[in-house]
């Protein structure tokens, strides 16, 4: 999954002439597509923006385990249970890669997680929606991971080396989950009974718009995009990526034999793209503010896990210290 709206701290992008020598050398490197590495000089705001973006991305992986965890104990067959468990395991792994990438920037994992728990750091809005039937496990794989992949594929070329390399690994696994998710739905539509087909359509109806919101605000309302793009942290605008996602997803939807809950969706021959209806931006901003359907439950679960696990982590540290002392004495 990924970061949706990241503050860069700069509203106007400086030209090369306005930059000092260090910053200019940095920007020239970016322009020449040379990756920035942990020990290289970088503008303070570049560092902060990346910490925000990568941590948001990592938090999304972790919070994203919860809507699926809701169904892992109820998966209908052993095969589906195995697939879902493997997916959840991968997400925990993605969280770990991403926190490591973030730490190369000098940020501290526990501090950033504390920001998440206190509501000061965001995670993808999509995970604030509830999973209400089994088809949601397919739809999350297909639409949510699908949207994440559209966003992450260009991030494989993002200017910061450790983030770019994390994205290469993450994308491979996510693509696999996306295909599995789609296969869950295709199986239900082709071999399922009416109740199962209804579940699929219901899942799409509920998750379609929230998936489109994963790309963030429209370009007109993304004041941070220009700077992120100049730094080549982002490679495409939110609206470009959203359009790409819709264009590639509609044929898949047609193959399923389902519909989208958007009466305005239609192919535009002239543009060579699908036109689509207006996103409910009010809902989007409410979810980001913490007022979505599951924001409270998601954060509570994560906070409880951290609080209730504190004694375990303390024990691990105490034990490691004892072992170290014993070894030193021996």
């Amino acid at each position: 999954m990924y970061a949706q709206q990241v503050e860069t701290g700069t509203k106007t992008v400086k030209s090369l002439d306005e930059m000092g020598a260090e910053e200019r050398a940095f920007q020239e490197k970016i322009d020449a597509e040379i990756k920035i590495e942990a020990k290289n000089w970088m503008p303070d705001n570049y560092r902060k923006t990346l910490i925000r973006q990568i941590s948001q991305h990592a938090h999304s992986e972790i919070v994203g385990m919860l809507p699926e965890g809701n169904w892992v104990t109820r998966a209908p067959t052993l095969k589906r249970k195995l697939q879902l468990m493997a997916k959840i395991q991968d997400e925990a792994g993605h969280g770990l890669y991403l926190y490591s990438a973030m730490e190369t920037l000098g940020a501290d994992r526990d501090e950033e997680i504390e920001k998440l728990h206190s509501g000061r750091a965001k995670y993808s809005s999509i995970f604030n929606y509830p999973t209400l039937n089994w088809a949601d496990m397919g739809a999350v794989g297909w639409l949510v991971d699908g949207a994440a992949i559209v966003n992450q594929v260009p991030l494989q070329r993002t200017s910061y080396g450790p983030y770019s390399r994390a994205m290469i690994r993450v994308c491979k696994e996510e693509s696999f989950h996306q295909r599995q998710g789609y296969e869950i739905l295709l199986h239900m539509m082709r071999h399922g009974n009416q109740a199962q087909k209804d579940m699929v359509q219901d899942a799409i109806n509920r998750l379609w718009w929230p998936s489109l919101m994963m790309f963030g605000p429209s370009d007109a309302d993304s004041p941070n995009s220009a700077q992120s793009m100049a730094w080549k942290i982002k490679r495409h605008t939110n609206d470009e990526l959203r359009q790409r996602f819709i264009d590639q997803t509609i044929p898949q939807l047609e193959l399923l034999g389902c519909t989208v809950p958007d009466p305005d969706l239609k192919w535009n021959e002239e543009r060579g793209h699908y036109d689509f209806g207006e996103i409910q931006w009010e809902e989007f901003y409410e979810v980001l503010k913490g007022n979505g359907p599951c924001n409270r439950e998601r954060l509570e679960t994560r906070r409880n896990a951290t609080q209730e696990g504190a004694w375990v982590r303390k024990a691990a540290v105490a034990h490691a210290n004892k072992k170290q002392k014993q070894q030193a004495a021996a």
Partner: protein, 253 residues
């Protein structure tokens, strides 16, 4: 209620235990004390569901009435489940979860080591594959028992409480039972005579490192998973796990 032959009963005991243990691990999703443990628990759970499927496939082949691994997992009631009482116990805190995991891993490790040499080729093959996974599970849970037992005062006390909570169910891990005797006499599997001693030795060794005391051997009591006499926890676990298959009996997933 269907009573299967001894070998099938034995396969179900192995398969059901793996599946129910995995189901309890699934309940931890998003709630583990550290991110690494989310990964670790899911990893172990995945191995166990895979093992359950292998045991069930073989059991289904023997039952030979059109049943399959999914039907065995999702269409049997609690009176037909043969899993160890230990693994159906609620997760409790991380100490209870790890204590259950450790007792079960130590049991599996020794059972599978013996079964690796079974005359029954299917059993030997599944045991050989599973043993690789369980060797890792046992290392992981042993380390946690040591960390928690010999960590802080609080973690030590929680381990003492955890052992007190689940120890009584360990009688099943060391009992010598008729089914297994007749299977070894018929030459399907090696005799499991040494199992109690091996299991006890592993527990003692890890407990010593963990500064924990091994209680006196647990004695048999009213419940017995071999006859489907479970604790009240299993019914609820199955209600959750089986609901889709039960609600939509004609569905294909």
């Amino acid at each position: 209620m269907t009573k299967y032959d001894d070998l099938t009963e034995f396969l179900l005991r192995l398969g059901d235990s793996a599946l129910i243990q995995a189901q309890r691990l699934c309940e931890w999703t998003g709630r583990a004390p550290a991110l690494e443990e989310e990964l670790g628990m899911m990893n172990v759970g995945l191995d166990l569901v895979g093992q359950a499927r292998n045991w069930y496939d073989y059991a289904a082949e023997r039952i030979n009435d059109g049943t399959d691994a999914d039907a065995l997992a999702f269409r049997r009631d609690e009176r037909a489940f043969r899993n160890l009482l230990l693994v159906e116990q609620p997760n409790g805190d991380f100490a209870v979860t790890m204590t259950k995991q450790f007792f079960y891993d130590a049991w599996q490790f020794h059972v599978l080591t013996l079964l690796k040499n079974a005359n029954d080729e299917h059993i030997a093959a599944i045991a050989t594959k599973s043993l690789k996974e369980v060797t890792y599970h046992l290392r992981r849970s042993s380390q946690w028992v040591e960390r928690l037992g010999d960590g802080t005062d609080e973690s030590h006390q929680r381990m003492v409480n955890a052992i007190d909570t689940v120890w009584r169910f360990t009688f099943e891990l060391v009992e010598q039972n008729d089914t297994e005797w007749s299977l070894s006499e018929a030459g399907h599997i090696p005799a499991l005579t040494e199992l109690p001693e091996l299991w006890h030795a592993t527990v003692s060794e890890v407990f010593t490192n963990a500064t924990l005391t091994v209680p006196d051997a647990a004695s048999t009591f009213y419940l017995s998973a071999r006859t489907g006499m479970h604790s009240e926890h299993l019914g609820l676990l199955l209600a959750e796990m089986q609901f889709l298959q039960r609600a939509y009996p004609d569905a294909s997933w």
